[in-house]
Symmetry: C3
Subunit: 656 residues, 3 copies
């Protein structure tokens, strides 16, 4: 398609057919190019077991095609019908407390259900065979937000699948016993049959069991995708297949998912009330581009304005919907889709905004819908353009799962820590890739590895080799503490990274919890680089060869290193043993080591600058006008500069 | 009876019989006229299946009668005995997670249990036949606080009853599918058999299923009442029947309950530590009078001092028990009863105060018990006197249930919003009725309809007609958004009210949650009427004909209407699109439109003035003396003025 | 043994055998005298049903013996193997909601399981027979922290055991009905068969049922201990048997446990981040010494530095591990053991510190391990020395359980209240015993009985008799409200204590909850002794003969007594009806009544002074140097003075 995707989920089955013609007319007015159809249509497509009714969908697809709207056709497997659940309650998910969930919302099935898979596959095949040659068909959309409400299932059927997964992974139970460290707390297994999912227990679970169950659960859901995709591909080898991701979604390791998709797509619902949302959204776009290995992707769902599932759901202020849309394009998206086209009048999401709201055409939301469609038309040349980042942040689901387990040194948030570092790069206009710790990093001038708790020996060596080969690496506390089985890297942690960093970590010493003191938040004091306070972390570090760039002051850490720098081979390795409030000065110093990284200036607060191919996007998420690169951009406005200097669609911005 | 009811729950079975004579003596001393007997006596009346023991109760009733105490005789069905539960565990309630609750507290049965109903009916008949002609019998007291601990039951038996209720309501499953909007999320049902209660699900339930389950649950409990009442009436057609309500109790729609009661009675436990309690109690009394269609009612339970079920249970300060008692009489009560007569010495409520406390006769609580009894004697002329209010507030359980569902624009409290408006009327001494939105409102000069989320077309028309006919209506945000099936009223919300109000509502835009900002509470700013800040709500309103009386300042709502006023027919309709801190000035302006409402002056804080027939009650809930209507009333004291000007029992007050 | 125990849990099964020799070498370097072996070895000792493998343990015990390390040998019953649980899921515990917990952590069995008990007994016998004559054997260590994760079990098997326990206690169900007050809420039982544990119910449980279930649960776990101990004693009558307590552990009434142990041992994990930890630890040591009737005891577990189960786990600052170790010795310990010797490299406690940390020998933690070992060598003469306290605090599990039940006047913390009074004695250097309310108190000059809610008639008389005989008693609000069946002591509470105290308590009137006011924390104001504010409690007290030493000011308690003093017989009895912030002045006045108590001076903050035999310990938990008894002690340092004036091992302290 020579146009950016623009449109949304389209659920005509919720409306009488006389609305359908108006839908096509208004989609045309809004510049809609693609509609996602059928996501929750199972009950309507198969009203009883094995009886299919495609007539209405034929009608819809015909109307859309006639109107020039392409179709992202869903497999409709996201919500099995009532008759199926009633006949086969074994499809229902079970919580860790043993509660079997009920029909009445959505995603009421578990991924290891053979029954569910059999019915879903039959439906997918029927849809593929009926619509595989339809002229409106642009892509297949498998299921919907797989795993979102049932990240893990504890049913007996999932337990059996978990055991099979473990047997495939470990081969013998002795290997599993070693990996899980079952000598601790008398947990040795005599056979795979004895193993259960980590259901409710008297106290802390075996950590490796937890981690393997996280890995298994991600894989089990991925299997649902793969099963559908295989059928679709067997029927229509040339039609691309996707499923919609959910950004930083803990349950699904998208590094393993993305290679299975013909193109990656993502759903994003930043909270309009949170001032950090634009930065967080930028980080999410970069993750999604990265897991897809740099391939352009589709923003498959966002809200035109409010959502309805927070405790308080603010509207998107005028301009915000546009800015977040342009941000996605700037960070690699080839399409901007919304949930949903027409706001529902009934059901659990009727208060979730639509491109066409309850109020109809004469509303500010629909006016923005039209304006965004118009603007995206002018950006068609960007389709397919890839970006090269010179900086990377290590992001790994294993470390995420492990860092946030029970029974750790401190309750930390992996994504929060990563985000703090990401924002420092964002505020300097530096494009960031995310990468696995064992990825080829040689193309990056700078690699950050914050709180990368889990490092296999290969990853340790990869990071050390990156430094040795001339790279600049910054890593932090809670990195390289554990190997891939969550066994401690003894004698100073960090494993093979120790020599690159020139330090050993001896002991963790975070400050007291805010709740403990009863008074002001307990902090550590840092002098030198990043001088000021730290609220989350301190530890005892012993330097070997490393240069000390900051030290702790006072308390039991008095005089000990807080930040160190070490040259190793042709590169430099920084270690940050704390969580300074002032990351800015730290990164400024680190960037001096990255000669090949383009000089980075600090941008005004709330301003984002991204280049994608010939387009330079200046996005002002703030409410006041700013001047950047010689261009004045109003509050909540954007400028898009072409390489030849001509402004594009940014009507309201002006060169100075 | 020519005396106000005064007394309390009397549970002699908890005490040796030598205490019983002292009880009668002290009741006489305290001016007790009525004792509620037998509420939790099932196990003692029917110690094993079908074996009844009435001897002790004969004795008790005889002693009470001899002492001149009338009896409100309970049916004893509130707590089935252990033998019944052990033999029939199917009577036990089941939570939404599938946990079957156990014996060991009270109300351990669910309302749809055929077994429970069979046993309860047998007991009720036995009691009715034995005591129906007893000379002490004043009234029948069915069960106790129906639904209080088991507002909803999710057992299979209740599921079947729910299905039957739905079939009765909808006739065919297609009608239900339309009403519930099951086209959303693939929830269509092929038959009623497929439907379950809203048990634990992966995510948000179908909203109409939730609402219908709320309605069903209210009805199921009402059926328990009706079943008992029918037996009682068949045996004793002339003895009045009641059951004790619980004020603003969300689970039971008392509008549908109250017509089934010969007289309404209510339990009220305002927190003595909460300064808002007297106002909240006033509101509750007005609700109870209103659901009973203005009939005098009985305050069936209150505490003489502390309760025992809050995390901290303060005592009622001297005077507070009296004031809350007089307040009930002032607002329509013909009786003041307490839980309970003699404070228990064992069991789960032993720390709940009694009229006769652990400390015995020589206590300040018993002294107040005696004094209140004495004072009530002087108010006998008020019995049966009804009151006419000129102002009404719409209060509807459908809107309550719907507004506080999952997946709404914002987590709001219906009763809190209603209470904020109620207090404005209270502080001006304006008596308030509550009314359903489809009630005849023609007698009211002013009708407030705050956050009346659900409006059927009939209700929309009723409210619009009220304005057209000359009434003054004030309504607020989150009114008329949904119809009775929770389908959105499209094209501006408000339905038939739009033309009366002269506005359309385009989009909701509440301020950010306090938790989001990390700093001060986010607010909206209003100028004009109600100038200042709003913490809970803002939205985009478009005026048609309405006059704008306040606007938002700053942010995305800058310059948009916050409060509007519209003349329509012979009346006036106000729309308040926000939640100003300053409601006072808003109501002052609205009252200018209500010419027939008696001029309302603002009362000192904590002072309540109510007229009932010839009696004018001036209640000072504050701790400092005030002068109102020329009468000085001390802190926590009351003055009761007769129409002829003579002070009644308010011994400690004095005319100035 | 002529050396203090010093060492820790030793889990060699988690490590390859080549680590074992290094372990012995480093234990010797650290002065380790005892290792606790086998606590979680069941799966390794009995890898399948009835197949025992002792070879590895023979090896370990041999190496330890050769290295001069004595062995505290565990019975390994704390964590049943996977094969056992898989074959017998009936051993698994069940929650009050009916959830059967799973294998995968530890303590996954319930104490009433006949299956568990049969398997455990077989294992214990096998271990006892194999190692009973082993030359390294110093003591038997039964199970581990019995009840810690499963304080109560609600399985059907436990229900049956509960019924049997009740039948033994009450004989007939009529006696139980009286004791439980089942006349309340229609709870009468017709037979023991009808009784269940207090599982999830619609509302508050029967209080006496709750209390009896607490008592039963403590006894059920004690039975596990007794069963194992009986086997051990039958095989090795001369080897002492212990199990490790957990300080103020609510689920286990250690007064009934301790007499069953040959010596008491205790696990203690004060939070290093909490400034109150040293005082709380002191209180715990005194409790443990007291439940053992003054016998020296073993600190069986503490952490060398951080634990891993709080949400944030701080390190122990340098010196803290030593100070807490010396504190235990000063308060009666004959041994200082740690969990664990070598920090784990895998499993759920790998982040729990060890004597030998992940970092190995060259770490500050191991250096402290060695230094403490060295210092303890110099204290061997203290072994077996007992201490005499002249002050006692009443501490009773019945009151603990009852005070913190549902449906009480206020949510109070028994231990918090006790701790507030304890700290007043601690800060004056007064050694405290804890005692039961019916214990012989004649040896004490001062007895405090804070919030001793439950007092049997015997206990009431015992306390009154103590005063009459010349003692000084201070008691507080919420004392003597209930008897041992939780029946109210009518007519003023306090029972037989009323005359000793010269007061009656009429009514409770705590201030409002902080959450209620929305403003500053509500308080009561006191004048006189303890003048200032109180945050938790007030009440109406009527004095009889007592002298009023403080009164409430303002509010409903204005002018009423807050603190009273009464002479009774030869003694004095104080009643404190409130919770003054200033307890210091209160205790100063009370101490004037205790002539035989040695003059108590106030110590600097954070400083603890304790005498044990010839040794005077001055422990400075603060961070600044202090001078006490003429000795200057640095921050986080200690001085140990011999009676002959010679300083002992306190190398870093100096006489002034």
């Amino acid at each position: 398609m020579n146009r950016l995707w623009y449109g949304g989920d389209y659920n005509p089955e919720q409306w009488p057919s006389d609305v359908w013609d108006e839908d096509v007319r208004l989609m045309q007015r809004a510049g809609v190019t693609v509609a996602t159809v059928g996501v929750f249509s199972w009950a309507k497509l198969e009203p009883s077991d094995g009886v299919f009714d495609f007539g209405w969908l034929d009608d819809i697809l015909g109307r859309l095609h006639a109107g020039g709207i392409r179709v992202d056709l869903a497999t409709a497997t996201a919500s099995p019908p009532a008759w199926l659940v009633r006949a086969h309650p074994d499809v229902l998910p079970v919580t860790k407390d043993g509660v079997r969930l009920s029909f009445g919302s959505r995603q009421h099935y578990h991924p290891s259900s053979a029954t569910y898979r059999r019915y879903a596959d039959r439906l997918v095949r029927a849809i593929a065979e009926r619509y595989g040659q339809h002229p409106a068909l642009e892509a297949w959309h498998v299921n919907n937000e797989l795993a979102c409400h049932v990240p893990r299932d504890y049913s007996d059927e999932s337990a059996a699948a978990f055991r099979a997964w473990l047997e495939t992974k470990y081969g013998t139970v002795d290997v599993l016993n070693d990996a899980w460290g079952t000598a601790f707390w008398s947990q040795a297994y005599g056979s795979f049959d004895e193993i259960e999912p980590p259901r409710a227990t008297p106290t802390f679970h075996n950590p490796t069991q937890l981690l393997d169950f996280d890995r298994f659960s991600s894989d089990a859901w991925l299997e649902c995708y793969r099963s559908e995709a295989a059928i679709l591909r067997s029927v229509t080898p040339d039609v691309p297949v996707t499923t919609n991701f959910m950004g930083f979604f803990k349950a699904s390791n998208y590094w393993s998912w993305a290679p299975e998709l013909d193109f990656v797509s993502d759903d994003a619902y930043p909270d309009p009330a949170d001032p950090a949302s634009p930065a967080y959204a930028a980080m999410t776009r970069d993750l999604i581009r990265s897991v897809g290995n740099g391939r352009p992707w589709i923003l498959m769902e966002q809200a035109a304005s409010a959502v309805n599932w927070r405790t308080r759901n603010g509207a998107k202020a005028p301009g915000m919907h546009r800015l977040l849309s342009l941000q996605a394009v700037a960070r690699g998206a080839d399409g901007i889709m919304q949930f949903q086209w027409r706001q529902s009048k009934a059901g659990a999401e009727k208060f979730h905004s639509g491109m066409l709201p309850h109020g109809g055409e004469q509303t500010r939301v629909f006016e923005e819908t039209v304006a965004i469609g118009e603007e995206l038309k002018g950006l068609s040349e960007i389709i397919g353009v890839r970006q090269e980042a010179r900086a990377a942040i290590i992001f790994d689901w294993d470390s995420w799962w492990a860092l946030e387990q029970e029974a750790t040194p401190s309750r930390l948030s992996y994504v929060d820590i990563v985000f703090r570092w990401y924002r420092e790069l964002l505020s300097r206009g530096i494009l960031v890739d995310f990468a696995l710790p064992d990825a080829d990093l040689s193309g990056y001038s700078l690699v950050l590895a914050p709180a990368t708790l889990v490092l296999s020996e290969a990853s340790q060596r990869n990071l050390a080799g990156y430094v040795e080969g001339g790279g600049t690496l910054l890593t932090t506390y809670q990195t390289g503490i554990l190997d891939e089985n969550l066994h401690v890297l003894l004698d100073g942690y960090l494993g093979e990274l120790r020599s690159a960093l020139g330090v050993k970590v001896e002991e963790f010493a975070p400050p007291a919890e805010p709740s403990m003191s009863g008074g002001p938040v307990p902090t550590l004091v840092i002098q030198g680089l990043g001088a000021g306070i730290a609220r989350e972390w301190g530890e005892i570090v012993r330097t070997d060869r490393a240069e000390v760039r900051a030290t702790f002051v006072g308390g039991m850490l008095d005089g000990l290193p807080a930040i160190t720098r070490n040259t190793f081979g042709s590169g430099t390795a920084w270690y940050v043993a704390t969580s300074p409030d002032d990351l800015r000065s730290v990164l400024d110093s680190v960037l001096l080591d990255c000669r090949s990284l383009e000089p980075a200036s600090s941008l005004p607060a709330g301003v984002e600058v991204v280049r994608r191919g010939d387009f330079l996007f200046i996005l002002n998420h703030g409410t006041n006008a700013v001047t950047v690169e010689g261009v004045t951009v109003q509050g909540r406005d954007a400028a898009i500069l072409r390489s030849d200097g001509a402004p594009t669609s940014a009507a309201s911005s002006e060169s100075t």
